[in-house]
């Protein structure tokens, strides 16, 4: 009889369902008094370094309908390209920037919205710099396993053109699905990142 590996299997995913907000953002669904503030609402404080930006968008299903029960999480580097994580070995990230955010899509408009800073560039495995990006994770009813994607910035054309991850996208017509267009909202740079789960212009999702 051959030897057995001692590794375990990852627990299989199950959908977050329609009531993910009870666990993730209870105050937002009027379950108040359990804990004071939902996690992930605030990314920046007065001492956070970097350019303040708004990131917003909507999530669409395969028929073009806006999904109003999704939960979006983002994870990003600080203004110098360092992650606020014990696993970050390259230096010490801005202590005034957590880098993680969580927002529901609005029950009426379907829009999600984060106030954050523009991240710096971080290296790919071979040392080349990736373009500035925000890691985005989407869960909702009907999504059996959370979807990973990346937001890139529309005004970073040069960096985007040399990003080793974007270069891996074989079908170039899909590239724009990862690029958030820049506009201004009350003087704040605002990046709109719509996520299409299916259909024409389906967002590029990653198996990481």
């Amino acid at each position: 009889m051959f030897q057995k590996l001692t590794t375990l299997k990852e627990s299989p995913s199950q959908t977050a369902g329609p009531y993910v907000h009870i666990g993730a953002t209870p105050n937002w669904v009027e379950i108040t008094g359990v804990w004071d503030e939902d996690l992930g609402l605030v990314l920046v404080g007065p001492d956070t370094k970097g350019e303040r930006i708004i990131v917003k968008g909507r999530v669409f299903d395969g028929s073009g309908n806006v999904i109003k029960d999704a939960l979006i999480e983002i994870w990003q580097a600080d203004a110098d390209g360092l992650y606020n994580s014990p696993e970050e070995k390259r230096g010490k990230a801005d202590p005034n920037f957590v880098g993680w955010g969580r927002q529901p899509t609005d029950g009426t408009t379907g829009e999600y919205r984060f106030e954050t800073i523009k991240p710096g560039r971080v290296p790919y495995k071979d040392g080349r710099l990736m373009a500035p990006h925000i890691t985005v994770w989407v869960v909702a009813r009907g999504i059996n396993i959370g979807l990973h994607t990346r937001l890139y910035f529309g005004d970073e054309e040069a960096a985007n053109a040399e990003c080793p991850v974007l270069a891996r996208i074989e079908h170039k017509f899909r590239l724009p699905t990862l690029i958030a267009a820049r506009s201004e909202e009350n003087g704040m740079p605002t990046y709109t990142f719509d996520i299409r789960l299916q259909g024409e212009n389906e967002t590029v999702f990653f198996d990481i």
């Binding site: 001692t6 990852e10 995913s13 993910v20 666990g23 696993e87 059996n144």
Partner: protein, 241 residues
């Protein structure tokens, strides 16, 4: 032991597929293009860490953390276990968040329309951070089964939703816990999005009579496994050359 390698590739045949027509909502919410495979970069191998200061003393006690006039109604249970990685090592400092219906199978949510009664003393959310051995525990009530609009007469088995943060964003996971011996597990279109029975069994908590609190609460053990990481014994040497 060095811990710097990327995470093991996710076994997508162990997880549910995106498109599972028996769970109707997945039909329009499932990507149709193949996922773009990306060996982890530092963006995925890092993640937020939540300190013990994040957590209040009643956050893991769903019988009391929303109570207004008395304890939540229902069968009192302890849910406990460990968060491990695929290398069978504990994951300390993991944030475990959970949510569930009340004993009658009703969620406290404005979109919830099931006729079962709301329990004024039950909110349905809890959270904990694993200790140095990866252990967590909750006190709660056993959730009821509930009907849902999918088939004409589909019911969810009793379950608790779990969300997990390990040490890297690549480990991010949402799943559900079921209860040993529940015949409704095998009638559920969401459970059956998982094709391997062994994988479903991995989500099924086991009654633990030894962990029961006498005259108080039954106990269920539920271990959770997050993705494991390659050792870099060899990679480091290669980088050094």
């Amino acid at each position: 032991m060095s811990d710097q390698g990327s995470y093991y590739q996710r076994d997508r045949s162990w997880h549910p597929a995106a498109l599972t027509p028996q769970y109707k909502t997945s039909v329009l919410r499932s990507p149709q293009y193949p996922l773009l495979s990306l060996d982890n970069t530092i963006s995925e191998m890092t993640g937020p860490r939540f300190g013990h200061g994040t957590i209040g003393p009643l956050d893991n006690d769903l019988i009391r953390n929303f109570a207004k006039t008395g304890d939540a109604i229902g069968q009192r249970i302890i849910v406990y276990g460990r968060v491990l990685d695929e290398n069978a090592r504990p994951v300390p400092g993991a944030l475990v968040e959970l949510w569930q219906a009340n004993a009658g199978g009703r969620y406290r949510h404005k979109k919830e329309t099931y006729l079962a009664a709301i329990d004024p003393n039950f909110g349905g959310c809890g959270r904990a951070i694993t200790d140095a051995e990866g252990r967590y525990w909750f006190r709660t009530i056993k959730p009821g089964a509930y009907p849902w609009p999918n088939g004409v007469n589909d019911w969810r088995p009793a379950h608790i939703h779990f969300s997990l943060f390990g040490h890297a964003f690549a480990q991010r996971l949402i799943t559900q816990m079921y209860f040993e011996g529940d015949p409704m597990i095998w009638q559920c279109p969401i459970v059956s999005t998982i094709s391997d029975k062994a994988a479903i069994d991995q989500l099924t908590a086991v009654l633990d009579r030894n962990a029961t609190l006498p005259m108080d609460a039954l106990a269920y053990k539920f271990d959770i496994v997050l993705r494991g990481r390659r050792s870099t014994m060899f990679e480091n040497r290669m980088e050094g050359n």
